[in-house]
Amino acid sequence: MTARRERVGWICLSVVLVAAIACRFLVGRDMLGQWTFTWPTSDSIEWRTGALISAFLAGAALSLSGIFLQTLLRNPLASPFVLGLSAGSQACVAAAYWIAAIGGPWMLMGGAIFPATVGALLALAVTLYFGRGTGGGIDPISLVLSGVIVGTVAAALASLIEWLLPLEMRPSLAGWALGRVPEVPEISVAVITAITVFTGIFMGIRNGATLDAMGLSEDESSSIGIHVVRVRLYLVLGSSVLAAVATALCGPLAFIGLIGPHMARSCVGPRHRASVLAAAISGSTLLIAADAVRHFAPASTGRLPIGVICALAGGPFFLILLRRGAAKAWMR
């Protein structure tokens, strides 16, 4: 990637981000439920800004989680949703709600972030355990299969727990489980997400060369001076926390964490010094754009859950990656 191409890539990313933000800011609904494309009234300015902040932070967190997982596993198909982290968070948050329903709401102090983090870590651990295969090395496709199954089971667990909840608690959890972009994000969750995202970007750029070196075989990265076990531990923790905060804020969203890193690398190249920040920007752009797009759906049935848009747009992308043999072509 020449310096000139990289510069063009940065310009493209910024333009698309600004366009997505403008789009989301201007799009809305009139009294009749028809979509409008005008400067918002003073009430809706606040709402739209809130939604923009939520989408910006959650998108960046998911995409950062994705790029760290892809680096950790040297697998371009890895992402927090595909490896079951999002569903793991979902299940643990549902469990926390359930415990809160039994033991009183004080059990939920600190919001959904803590249970979400536990869930993401657990899910990643189980996925890695079963995805390792017998040869010692990690086969990319087995890992993805393992993750998909872990995700499915965790999502089923989440539904089961949701079903056990008292009726009045169900709707809020069910809405969150389909994915949402909160117009009035919970301050504590938003602040923690912001801190996590900026820490992730900072650490990623600072240790860019180390992350690049993780792209070599384990023997090679170790012998050029990388403490492979330690770096892997950081990547596991970092990607889990990032996936968890995004899930706590917006629910389990599919494929943003997969497409973001690919979009970033195709714009600014594979070196982490550049691609970590670019991945955060790409993820934000994607989620903001998805949030804008759902306003165009007919309003009579209520607003389309954001998770639907993400899955509809992201699923085909994953299949194309699979078809192109991305997992095999990644390493040489």
Binding site: G215, L216, R265, W330, M331, R332
Partner: protein, 278 residues
């Protein structure tokens, strides 16, 4: 500096190598030979500190060189260097200064340029652009510097990995370990590589190379270690080991000395009868 294996037992999955008593000389090329599955790669990975000795020791013993002092090492790391060190217990960032390792099948992210991939050799130390450029020139890949690794042939990728090992070198570097380098290489690059390995030895490094290529082995070896079924079957100076009566029982193939291919006679496997025998 010497790298010493004492009563070492090394486990690599189900495979056990041992017990190994060996000493690798500085300023010499040691060639490791042996049938497939004999333990060559296991020995090399243990020498590189990537596998710990299950029992016994694999130690690196070195003196702080003048140049190491010139690099203004902190006193603790200078003191550490004077003592004997279990090679697998040295921190990777420190070990990277002492040795470089080229595996049999190097891997790199396909989207990296050749230059980026070679620069990774210096990830744990000061960046050194002239050194990176020189490494690429000496391995004949300078013209490919901006090419993507994914577009290269296997042999070219091997050169990239070797260039990375050259770029990694510091004033403290004591060891160069290369696992089966010649399998994907054309004759011209094999000759260049042989010259590079001899050059590294002449600079004072202990060079350890595993290979199945007996012409290559005979051309570069000072010492030879023969491994089969996880045991050392022969070890010593090249001219004593690379002889038909030692190699024949190890590989179960007839060997013969051939003159005029290199400075010294080479001991090569014979083809007579191979085709009819099967």
């Amino acid at each position: 500096m010497t790298l010493k294996f004492e009563q070492a037992l090394i486990r690599n999955g189900n495979f056990v190598l041992g017990q190994i008593d060996l000493q690798f000389r500085a300023a010499a090329v040691t060639v490791v030979i042996g049938p497939n599955g004999g333990g060559k790669s296991t020995l090399l990975r243990a020498a590189a500190g990537l596998l710990a000795a299950h029992a016994g020791h694999a130690r690196l013993q070195c003196e702080p060189s003048q140049s190491a002092r010139a690099e203004k090492l902190s006193t603790t790391s200078a003191r550490m260097l004077t003592s004997e060190m279990e090679i697998a217990k040295i921190m990777p960032s420190q070990r990277a200064r002492l040795l470089s390792f080229v595996p049999q099948r190097p891997e790199s992210v396909a989207g990296f340029s050749v230059r980026t991939s070679v620069e990774l050799g210096r990830v744990a130390m000061r960046a050194d652009a002239p050194r990176v450029q020189l490494s690429m020139e000496r391995t004949g890949i300078a013209a490919l510097a901006e090419e993507l690794v994914g577009h290269l042939s296997e042999g070219q990728r091997h050169r990239v990995a070797f260039a990375r090992a050259l770029a990694q070198r510091t004033a403290q570097t004591q060891l160069l370990i290369v696992d089966e380098p010649t399998s994907a290489l054309d004759p011209s690059w094999t000759r260049t590589l042989a010259a590079e390995l001899r050059h590294s030895a002449s600079e004072g490094l202990a060079v350890i190379v595993a290979t199945h290529d007996f012409a290559f082995a005979g051309a570069i070896a000072d010492d030879v270690v023969a491994l089969s079924q996880g045991k050392i079957t022969a070890a010593g100076r090249a001219m004593e080991i690379l002889t038909p009566h030692i190699l024949q029982p190890i590989f179960n193939v007839p060997f013969r000395m051939v003159e005029h291919l290199a400075a010294n006679p080479l001991c090569l496997p014979m083809w007579n009868g191979a085709i009819n025998a099967t």
